[in-house]
Structure formats: structure tokens, C-alpha cells
């Protein structure tokens, strides 16, 4: 009952056995034909029941009341949490592997992702510069990721410093003056599309004060696929690759 869980199930080769997904589950493209059970906070108990699943995988963002209601209808429900850092992704995949009896495949997937993360760590060994990063979640206002978000962990892993890391929250509304004061070297805009990214970049460039910060002056504003970066699934490692390549082109041969 969450997009990241759907992605993990497909990555485990279980796509054919997924009978229902949320309306936000649009990756991989094969999810198109699968029945929709509603959203994250408003899944329909009735639709879930009608699909008669052997297992319901919920996550902590689904309302507990709904999860309990499904459980009391006699369906086996397994509730998972997302982690605070990238390291929590591997145990999550392994747990899903255990409940779906695909332990071997899950171990393989986790190991593959670990290797890729290891390669990034290796590539950044001994790096001195840790550019300041501001992540903008495109939409209303200056939403960014605080120190408790796994996106913060991605930034650190990619060899950067999240300017909003001191804020003890997952997602926070940032103040304009603080961006000016933090003067980030790089801005990542999490956007759903090219057009949104372009709009976000324009908005920053026009914002009085913000137009003077280093990242904006030097044009180091990059797009992050919101779809991949906002889901605690295998594609986070793609996002990490991209971030590391953009923050440290000298180490990763300009690949991005």
C-alpha cells in the first residue's frame, strides 16, 4: 500500500503477483494495469478485501486504523517502516524478501545495491570539499529536507552538506533569508517533470536575495526525479549516483 513497496516487489520479480497498488504507484510502467486500492491515507478497505490478497504489505504512513480494519477482516497484514538513511533500505528489501519467500532474490538485490553504494563511498574516499546543498521540493513554498530525512542521508553519502541538516524534521518549510545566509553551492530541485524543474529554477532566480546565492549565480541548479527520490526504494541508489556525479564531477568523470 505504498509506491516504494510496489517498486521493491517488482524489483524482486514479484510484479505478476501484485493484485492491487495505490493510485500513486506508477513505477515500473507495468503497474499501469493493476487494480487501484485508493491512496496512501485513504485506501479502500472494501477494494482491498475484494482483491482477496494472500498478503497485504502496508507501511507506517498508512493510517493505523485502516490497517487494523483490514487485519480484522481476516487478511494477513505486514507493516513496514521506511528508514532514516540509505542503510535501512537493505534490511527493508530483505524483510520483504522474507515475507514473500524470495529471500535469495532479495539478498541478491540488496547486495547489488550495496555494491553500488560502496562504489560511491570508494570514489569519494578522502574528498575534502563538501559542497553545501539546498534541496527544493518543487511546489508551494520553499520545502526542503531536514536532518531526519533520508534525502539528507543521500546528500551526505554523495559527498555534500545539506544546509538544512540542523533542522530536526523530515520535511521543513525553509525561510528565504536562511538560504541567502547558507549560500549553498548547489541546489537540487525535486520535480515531477522538466517543466516543473524549469519553473522552479526560474522562481529561485527571480526571488530577491536568493538570486545572489552561489548556486544560482553559477547556474548549479540540477533536477532530481521527485518520483525516484521521494520513494524509499531501489531507485534511491540511482538518485545517489546522480547526486554524487553532480557534486563531485572530478571524482566521477562528469558522469551524471
Amino acid at each position: 500500500m505504498a509506491p516504494n513497496l510496489t517498486e521493491i516487489l517488482f524489483a524482486l520479480g514479484l510484479g505478476g503477483r501484485v493484485v492491487g497498488v495505490t493510485r500513486f504507484c506508477d513505477w515500473p510502467p507495468e503497474t499501469t494495469g493493476i487494480a487501484r486500492i485508493g491512496g496512501l491515507v485513504d485506501p479502500s478497505v472494501e477494494v482491498v478485501r475484494s482483491l482477496d490478497p494472500e498478503l497485504v504489505i502496508a507501511f507506517r504512513g498508512n493510517p493505523l486504523r485502516v490497517v487494523e480494519r483490514i487485519r480484522r477482516l481476516g487478511l494477513p497484514v505486514f507493516v513496514l517502516d521506511i528508514g532514516r538513511g540509505l542503510d535501512a533500505l537493505f534490511p527493508l528489501i530483505e524483510r520483504i524478501g522474507r515475507v514473500t519467500r524470495t529471500e535469495a532474490r532479495a539478498a541478491e538485490l540488496a547486495a547489488g545495491l550495496r555494491d553500488r553504494v560502496g562504489a560511491i563511498d570508494e570514489g569519494l574516499r578522502g574528498v575534502e570539499a563538501r559542497p553545501g546543498v539546498f534541496v527544493l521540493l518543487y511546489g508551494q513554498g520553499l520545502w526542503t529536507c531536514g536532518g531526519e530525512s533520508y534525502v539528507n542521508d543521500l546528500i551526505v553519502r554523495a559527498g555534500g552538506t545539506n544546509v538544512a541538516a540542523a533542522l530536526p524534521k523530515k520535511w521543513v518549510l525553509y525561510k528565504r533569508e536562511r538560504i541567502v545566509k547558507d549560500d549553498p553551492d548547489v541546489v537540487f530541485i525535486m520535480a515531477r517533470s522538466e517543466a516543473d524543474f524549469a519553473r522552479g529554477r526560474e522562481a529561485l532566480a527571480r526571488m530577491p536575495g536568493v538570486d545572489g546565492v552561489k548556486a544560482v549565480r553559477e547556474g548549479r541548479i540540477f533536477e532530481l526525479d521527485e518520483n525516484a527520490a521521494s520513494r524509499f526504494g531501489p531507485r534511491l541508489v540511482d538518485v545517489l549516483d546522480r547526486m554524487a556525479g553532480l557534486l563531485h564531477p572530478e571524482r566521477f568523470g562528469g558522469r551524471s
Partner: protein
Amino acid sequence: MSRRAGRRLFWAAAVVLCAAGFFVSLLTGPVHTSLGDLLTFLRDPDRVRAAIFIDLRLARAVLAFLVGAALALSGAILQGYFRNPMADPFVVGVSSGASLGAVLAVALGFEASAFGFSGPGLLAFLSGLGIVSLVYGLSLKRGGFKVETILLTGIAAGALASAMTSFLLFMRSDSYDQAVFWLLGSFQLAEWRQAATIGPWIAACLVASVWLARDMDLLALGDESAQALGSPVRRVRKAFLAMSALLAALSVAVSGIIGFVGLVVPHWVRLLIGPGHRTLFAASAFAGGTFLLYCDLIARNLLPAELPIGVITAAVGAPFFIYLLHKKR
């Protein structure tokens, strides 16, 4: 039309509408089902259809009916109690008190459940009753016992509770989604055990209120006259206030705050069958249940995503309330 014929017509219409409401409730939902599916199920029950028809849809319809009956009865009682047609279950502070309790439980992550009530439901019930007792206690101290004092104290205490609710929501914005359930009401997660918990209490209150209806009729003449006519005014008043608070608190505990049912339904019924409390109580309960059953049908079928039922009852109830106000002037 004579009052007697009117009464007969009312009951016939109410029974037909109620039966039709239950029938449509069984057939509509996010999963497409036809009459054929229902008939197949009745002949040859299977697990999935049993869950959808019985555990989900019928349980929901029954709970909506029970809550509607409780709210309308509570409203009918309070309108008689205050001798004021604008009273409803929530003026004495039950609603604001209960929502404060629910939001507090959500904010604190209090999830324990008992008797089919969830944590927030339980706390809503207790705080709803708590605030009524407080209002009642305060009104008693202020020398003697005046209906206006209860009414005003209730409004003030309700405002205080609402302020605290808003404060909690502001501080814990992440629990907002859950809080909406309590502030606007929903039967989305209705269960049989909730119906089983509140059903007997509602039935008991209905029987008791019909039993005491004559005393309520006498109260309409004024407390002194009622006393002179042999009615134990103080005890009757206490019993009615307790019942109305209990009914409203039970409703909030299972379904969140659903406004306007308690206000408008007794009015409709009074217009149709007259002001005698004995029939008024029974008819209000029945009509209130039927009304909420239909409101819930609209709430879950109007849009692809489910609407909070408080939106529907207010959308129907508020214009009627305004109409009544202007008619009175």
C-alpha cells in the same frame, strides 16, 4: 390532513425510505456489485462477498443508522429540555469536548482500544461526557439551576475546547489527516462491534426517553407548573441531560463529529407529526437514522474519494437551519 393520517403517512414513508436506504447501501460501494451478486451471495455465500456485504457494507449502514438515531434523539431531548428549538446535542459542549479528546489522543499517539472503541474514540467519549458534567456542575453552583446558564456555560466551554483543539492541530500538523476524521466524521471504518457496543445504550435511552416523555411535555409549561402537576422536575431534567450527553458522546466516539443531524431532524419530525414528545422521540430516532443512512450513501458515492460525512449533513442541514431562523422572525 388530520394529525393521525399524517402520522401514519410519516411512518409508512420512513419505513419505506429506511428499507430502500439499507438496500442501496448493500449494493453500492467502490467495488462494483450488482443485484445478481447479492442474490448469488444469499444462495451461496463465499468469503469475499461475505466480507463486502456483511462485514463492510451492512455494518456501515447499521452503524450510520444507529448514530443518526442517537444524534436525532439527543437533539429532540435537548430541544425539549431547553425549550429552545435551536438547541442540539453539541450546544452543551459535547462536540467540542469530544473532538478535543480525540485530537489529543491522535496527537499523543494513544492507540489502545476497548469495547470496539479506538483510543481516540474512547478519549472522545470520556472528554465529551466530562465537559458536560463540568458545564452542569458550574451551572449548579451559580445559585440554583437555570437553563440559560447551562446553555451559555456550554457554549463558552465548547469555545475553550475548540481553541485547545486548534492549538493541538497547529502543534502537531502531521496528525492532521487523522484529526479530520474526528472533526468531520466518517463511517469508513465501521465495524459490527462498534454497533454492538452503542446499540444497547441507544435502545435503552430511547425506551427511557419515551417512558419519561410525559414529564418532558409538562416541562414545556415551565418548571414551576410541571412541579405543581406532580412531575419530579429536577430528577427528570437530570435524567434527560445525562441521556442526551451519553447519546452524543457515543456517536462521536464511533464516528467523529457529525453536525446538524440533531438540530434539523427533530424539526422535520415536529412539523410532520406534531410536538408530543412521546411520538417525537421515537420518530426522531427513526428519521435521524434514515437521514444519516442517506447522507452516508452520498458521502461515499458522490466522488471517487470518500467525503467526510459532516460535509454532507452540514450541506443539507445548514440551509435548512437558515430557513428556520428566517421563518421565525
